[in-house]
Symmetry: D2
Subunit: 357 residues, 4 copies
């Protein structure tokens, strides 16, 4: 189960940073949907490193191929295998990591769990694994698009630089207009400068991604454990470097009074609407037809280009020398990954809801 | 799956606020553990309403009975059924709710999902359902206790009243010393006054619960989707009124630089330790042996004793008149529920880890 | 998972032979279906012992109560809890079983698995647990009935007495006309005499139950592991005393040539039909619209009223003295249980199919 | 879930007969086990067509590559991806199948389920998919071998030619001595002749595979739905062409009396043993330490080289002309596939049992 998610739109991923291949299997995608490699590649290209100076300079071609589940351009209803070969593997960059535990990485915990680990590039713990999720998310996007559901994610803060904006007004174009994926050009410019400064400093920055899903029908999500926002929280915290999750008003909402926080219902044509959306589109774990809005906190990248004291796998105290390439800020690349996770959760709950009514 | 959680320590709950009974089935609890109703009742009593003036005055006896899975005082390895009869059902309090949608409750979303709903007391969406989780959590506590794992949760903020304290120093005694379950008596006193003021005002307050798990061995949690913190996020967001989740440094950590945020390793006797714990005891989704620390945001209770404009199930605009009893602040009762959810996730991952090594 | 089945129509059971209560939780039943205790009781009464001289004389009232998930006579879409109190518990009948392993029962294997066991009446391994499945099956029947699906099971052999009949012609009335549940009165008469003779002899008989599902639409079942007949095989082998399963031509079909065995397609009005039904209504794991036909082999009851050599839990060789009541032949009571399992599998796959198209 | 199996040793397969690749992902294999492609290839080679005149003459290289989950020759505990490229794809052999439904194949049911299908070679319904299962089974074999568990399967009947032998005496060498995989050379010879005759006749034969698992510890399997034999039944009926399953005495056992059928316990050194093994090594769904013995019925191959009347996807009556290559009897190749399924179920239950004690 560790590498699987979903009840009906079910995704299994595999692959390590420096293994031969990685990929995703989607089991449960409805039949008859148009699907080709190009549409998946589009999302993958947005996640890819090497897109700009502010992200990792690794060159990963991330070329996806569809190995099953599609016939004559349409999904068949059987498992869709999306495979990606690993290229550009400078494993020697990682020799120091074979025995030394990098601070705030998963080296030590993998050893503690498994008794051994593939140290190259972080192995299975590498953010490289998210390429498989983005590929799967692109398939979910294709399905949801036909039902009028649109998903967008953007960088809403980097370190203490925060974007104030109305999520309803954000567009894909504004997001993609700058390499930092912040839809406001001025804030984006400040973020880019901050990231470049951190990079030169051998240091790293964290931040927040905000995501919105529009056109979600009321009724998705389940009572109790499989609430829509519970599944979204799991999906987001399953991302590397994620440390927090909010839906709607989140932590800030805890400071309001009930009379201020409640989203009052009114009628708009045939629809029941709410005048505010502090619920973030989810009430009692079930979508209410308003935009689903969430925020994900990402810590600053653990890899910094500075010597750090640590211990090795034999328990000896030692020093980790800085080496290799690093991503001074994962946020720009995190945005398409958050989209993918949101798409996967929605696709699953969309199918689950169709089953019962 | 909606009402199930866990892979090996698997919990299924059932029951509505005003139905005949509610309960939890635990499937996968190891055999041979001592278990009786009294030890479960202890946890249930902490969740129960009517304990003090600052929580709901409903009287729910919440008397649990063990209907299966225990023989001569020990678990048998087969499903443990924990059943609780509903008493004190003043359904007539809820007549107004039959057709009118209460703001920021699940009335509308249940109707949208199912086409009908048990309106009495919120039905399945009622926080009453968490009694079953607390009962199940008590069984997990019994199991984890034998492996040296201790779980505590407390109220760390109510509205804008925040507790600043070292999670490592908090004790059960300090938590239970006041009805608000904040371990600092001065802050607790302020919180109680704020809650009473809100109650008199017919309004409600939100806040944050902080939880810690001590003695968790390194190695629990899985790569990718079933990360320990991902499962914890899901568990916490599945609670009524939860709007946010943080592990370790959370959202505040996004403002640090990597060089500040990293938890440096050192050696303490035979153990690998970290000097700080911004990771919250989880790295790469796997426990590292430090305390697991998390925070959950709860919005202010949606029920307020004031007239609110709304719509009814036929789409007519109408007014919801204030009526019945309400919980001006769920936080004090949320603490034992957060503990239960944390216990359930740890029990499940503890068993999963034993399976592989 | 041990006590759960189904992906969307999900059933969890609990309870031991001599514990306080047993029951089933159904999670995923669609909302809006009429459901009351009387309709469930009807199926339970057919499973109940003490109905005639040829089955166990235990008196189990098996009175079901609906504890959740139904509001004003209709299902709400939330978990339906079906609870049954255990009565008439002559535990002292089983004192000998506390330490001695009954041959071909689960006493030894439970001890080997769990290190302890509830010996009374077989504990969790008792066929009494099937009462919960029959109750759950009745709910599935209610759902499938609305979609025109009818399920029947009958006793087609007892020991070497075999019924030769056309499954398409069997009716509920013919099945229930005799206590042995064999639809042919002459064969039924012989079976009853054979069972009575075995009972007088303190011995027991096995046999075969045949089941048919009519009106199953084409398209239910999944490729690969979740084939409809694979899920049916699991469902049937999960019954106490079951030792074999066949769908369609079964073992006898292995002796035919492909040219004899193939079911040729033809057209009947708008439907694609097959001229024969050696496939048993399932091709490639997916229903083809013909009757689903299966057979389940039940071994002779392990309880015989004769002294049997055995060993006890300390490994001492000893003798098990005959005692208590026994079921000389489980077949008559097995028929409604087979129906229940067939209903549960069909309900689950029916919902799964609705999700994808 | 359709293409997944197992709770802890979890296998996902993908791929069609004529798609680019097929494969299996194993999620949950314990870390530290030696694993290389050669050991998997060994099992794959036994399943491969083209090994002798009595099986299909298709040439499938079935070369497996390990794409993840293995580092420096040992499993890492993360998902193991086993990928196999499809070669020798004479899709034009199947042009007739694009619109016409082959009798007793899955063509019609796939169309009914999905509304479209990959007709080439049967697509996902092709027995080619079992290559992925055999590869996964080889990994399970490596794990179980270290715990002293050995699994063997052989052809015990072809049409009406039956092998009478003691399963305890069968060896791998005897099985592999002839291409028909029947361990008795005389019976094997008759079977081969029968199969060749059927092939010349353009017809096909069915038969039975018997399998045994030796060294299985007592305690594997779960009460109720996940009984060891229930999971085995599902695993076996999920194989193409499987129509029946027996464990231990199976259908023949229904003709015995309880006093004849019971397996009496005795003590052998420290072990509790049974004098007979009509239970087939499973009692109450849990292994008892005796050999697990089962039988699987396979119908005669549906592909026959004779014209057959049928209908096409538009409902027109038509004739299917014989064409292409066919497997006159799947039994010889079914034996290693049955082994694989048995291995997968045992590996899963072995891990599940380790989790609880």
């Amino acid at each position: 189960m560790a590498s699987s998610t979903g009840v009906l739109f079910r995704v299994h991923t595999f692959g390590e940073s420096h293994g031969p291949e990685l990929g995703a299997i989607i089991d449960g995608c409805p039949p008859g949907l148009p699907l080709d490699e190009a549409s998946i590649q589009q999302d993958l290209d947005r996640r890819r490193p090497g897109q700009s100076r502010i992200v990792s300079q690794r060159q990963e071609a991330d070329r996806v191929r569809i190995a099953s589940g599609v016939f004559e351009g349409r999904t068949t209803g059987t498992p869709i295998a999306l495979l990606i070969e690993n290229g550009d593997q400078r494993s020697s960059d990682y020799d120091d990591m074979r025995t030394k535990y990098r601070p705030s990485h998963a080296d030590y915990t993998y050893d503690a769990k498994y008794g051994l680990r593939d140290h190259r590039g972080g192995g299975r713990a590498s953010a490289r694994e998210t390429a498989a999720r983005v590929a799967a998310g692109a398939v979910a996007r294709g399905m949801l698009d036909r039902h009028g559901i649109e998903v967008l994610a953007w960088v809403s803060s980097v370190s203490d630089l925060e974007l104030a904006c109305d999520p309803a007004a954000v567009t894909r174009e504004a997001i993609e207009a700058t390499p930092v994926r912040c839809p406001d050009p001025d804030v984006a410019w400040s973020m880019i400068q901050a990231i470049e400064a951190a990079r030169k400093d051998g240091d790293s920055l964290g931040g927040v991604v905000t995501a919105v899903a529009r056109g979600v029908p009321a009724g998705l999500g389940e009572p109790v454990f499989d609430k829509l926002d519970a599944d979204l929280a799991r999906a987001m915290l399953s991302l590397p470097a994620a440390k927090g999750f909010e839906v709607g008003s989140g932590f800030a909402g805890t400071r309001l009074r009930g009379s201020e926080h409640n989203d009052l219902f009114y009628r708009e044509g045939a629809r029941v609407r709410t005048r505010t959306n502090r619920s973030g589109g989810v009430q009692g774990g079930i979508s209410n037809g308003e935009d689903v809005i969430l925020r994900v906190a990402f810590k600053p990248t653990a890899t910094v280009l500075r010597p750090q004291p640590t211990v090795d796998q034999d328990g000896n105290e030692t020093t980790l020398e800085p080496r290799g390439r690093h991503d001074p800020c994962v946020l720009p690349r995190a945005a398409p990954i958050v989209e993918a996770q949101l798409l996967l959760v929605l696709a699953d709950h969309w199918l689950r809801q169709r089953a019962i009514r």
